[in-house]
């Protein structure tokens, strides 16, 4: 490691990233990055400390669009009155992470960039159909969170780019969100399986009009259970249909066995997880 760089504003940060593209790692809370460097898993030449860039620290609403800056921590999300009302799903996901200290330090963008297949914010953001706002020195673009994940620990964000925030539409009155996490203990636990869903219904016709279901820790990346979604959309709101969708979701995953769980158990739990997030999402609408 050669240099520890502290830009004062976003412009400086993007300049440096351009200059050292591919050799630099942005650092915010550091709860994952510091450990990876210490363990020798990564060895960037340059660390770019983003924590002085105030313009990255925001939770904004523009009509129904919610924007969250890259320096917003899990604790900030949990403590935000706005998000508790407009995106309770994300609040629940952030609240399930680690511990109070980890939540004070870690950012949701950091959680995404770490790209663990088990990232708890990832499934919530994917269910919210969130997008990452990505900037480089010369351009700004937007990419769906789900396509950002390309593999365990790998994202599509280029070496000269920085995710400066995320954005998503707030949950409407005909929508509800649900989150599920199964861990080996109740705090400081990496998910065995996690899941999130945002469901939209037509109350009068009693059918699902939209469904976004994400599952995590069951594949190389968190993923949207698209077949389960398709099955649900347009169908009547019934336990049977929810069960079928959950069953379908099982087939979309490729879990592995590790010290936390066997692949078979993970697979079985996908069904339970998806069933529960859909049910919770329905409860939230009432």
């Amino acid at each position: 490691m050669k240099k520890y760089i502290i830009p004062e504003n976003l412009g400086e940060a993007l300049e440096i990233l351009e200059k050292y593209s591919g050799r630099a790692k942005p650092l915010a809370g550091g709860t994952d990055l510091v450990l990876q460097i210490r363990d020798g898993k990564i060895n960037p030449d340059f660390l770019i400390d983003l924590t002085r860039i105030r313009e990255l620290n925001y939770i904004k609403t523009q009509k129904k669009l919610i924007k969250i800056g890259a320096l917003v921590t899990h604790a900030d999300v949990v403590n935000s009155k706005t998000l508790r009302i407009k995106a309770p799903l994300l609040v629940e996901a952030c609240e399930s992470i680690g511990s109070p200290q980890v939540r004070n330090m870690g950012t949701i963008v950091g959680n995404i960039m770490n790209a663990s297949p088990a990232a708890d914010t990832a499934v919530a953001l994917m269910a919210l159909d969130a997008e990452a706002i990505i900037a480089s020195r010369t351009e700004k673009r937007v990419e769906k969170i789900e396509s950002i994940f390309v593999g365990p620990g790998k994202t599509s964000v280029k070496g000269n780019e920085l995710v400066i925030g995320i954005r998503f539409q707030q949950i409407d009155s005909d929508q509800g969100g649900g989150f599920f996490k199964l861990g080996k203990r109740n705090s400081l636990a990496i998910s065995i399986v996690n899941s999130a869903a945002v469901i939209k219904i037509d109350k009068s016709k009693k059918i699902f009009t939209d469904a976004k279901i994400a599952i995590g820790a069951v594949a190389p990346t968190p993923l949207r259970a698209k077949k389960a979604e398709e099955m649900l959309i347009g169908s009547n709101i019934s336990n049977k249909n929810i069960e079928n969708a959950a069953q379908a979701a099982m087939k979309e995953a490729f879990p592995i066995s590790d010290i936390r769980s066997s692949a078979e158990y993970r697979k079985e739990m996908i069904k339970i997880a998806v069933k529960q997030v859909i049910s919770k999402a329905l409860e939230a609408i009432k």
Partner: protein
């Protein structure tokens, strides 16, 4: 924009327990290294050096953090509170009194981290429920006490504080936001 060489020392300035300090650090160092090795404040403990145990918990700008994971450089310009700053001379903080009274200390290794997690809670919410206390210390592992007397102590401390201790206000619930 600052560019610091990893091999070279750099000076950081911050407040520790109300006192301004200036310390020479290497960018590889963690805040925990600075506290223990540079400032001789060994009250904050190293239990795992990976952020898994909470023994290194300190309060930084009002929030609890795992000092073993905080790069020392990020402490620059911040206000840090450690266990050494809780008592005023020989006068113990109500939390410390309560921990002693309730038998919440056995081996004592988790105690500094616990005290600070509890303090951060009481500073924001002076009348917490038992559930809120349990959650506030959920990132601090303890192997000796089973947590029960620690929770009892924090509840007792909140009563002490409300009853006319340092923050002798009335017992209104202050949640964040």
């Amino acid at each position: 924009m600052k560019e610091l060489n990893f091999e070279n020392p750099t000076t950081i300035k911050f407040q520790i327990n109300g006192r301004a300090v200036q310390v020479e650090v290497n960018p590889k160092m963690s805040l925990l290294d600075v506290l223990r090795n540079k400032l001789g404040l060994t009250g904050t403990k190293r239990g795992c050096n990976r952020g898994d145990c909470g023994a290194c918990t300190v309060i930084m700008n009002g929030k609890t953090v795992l000092s073993c994971l905080v790069p020392a450089i990020q402490a620059n310009g911040k206000k840090i509170e450690t266990v050494e700053g809780l008592a005023k001379g020989e006068k113990l903080h109500p939390l410390q009194e309560a921990f002693i009274e309730c038998g919440a200390i056995q081996c004592g290794f988790c105690t500094p981290g616990m005290l600070l997690s509890a303090k951060a809670l009481l500073d924001k919410n002076s009348n917490p429920t038992r559930e809120e206390v349990i959650k506030a210390i959920s990132g601090n592992l303890c192997r000796c006490t089973g947590y029960k007397k620690i929770i009892d102590a924090v509840m007792l401390a909140s009563q002490k504080i409300a009853g006319g201790g340092k923050n002798g206000r009335d017992r209104k619930k202050n949640t964040a936001d």
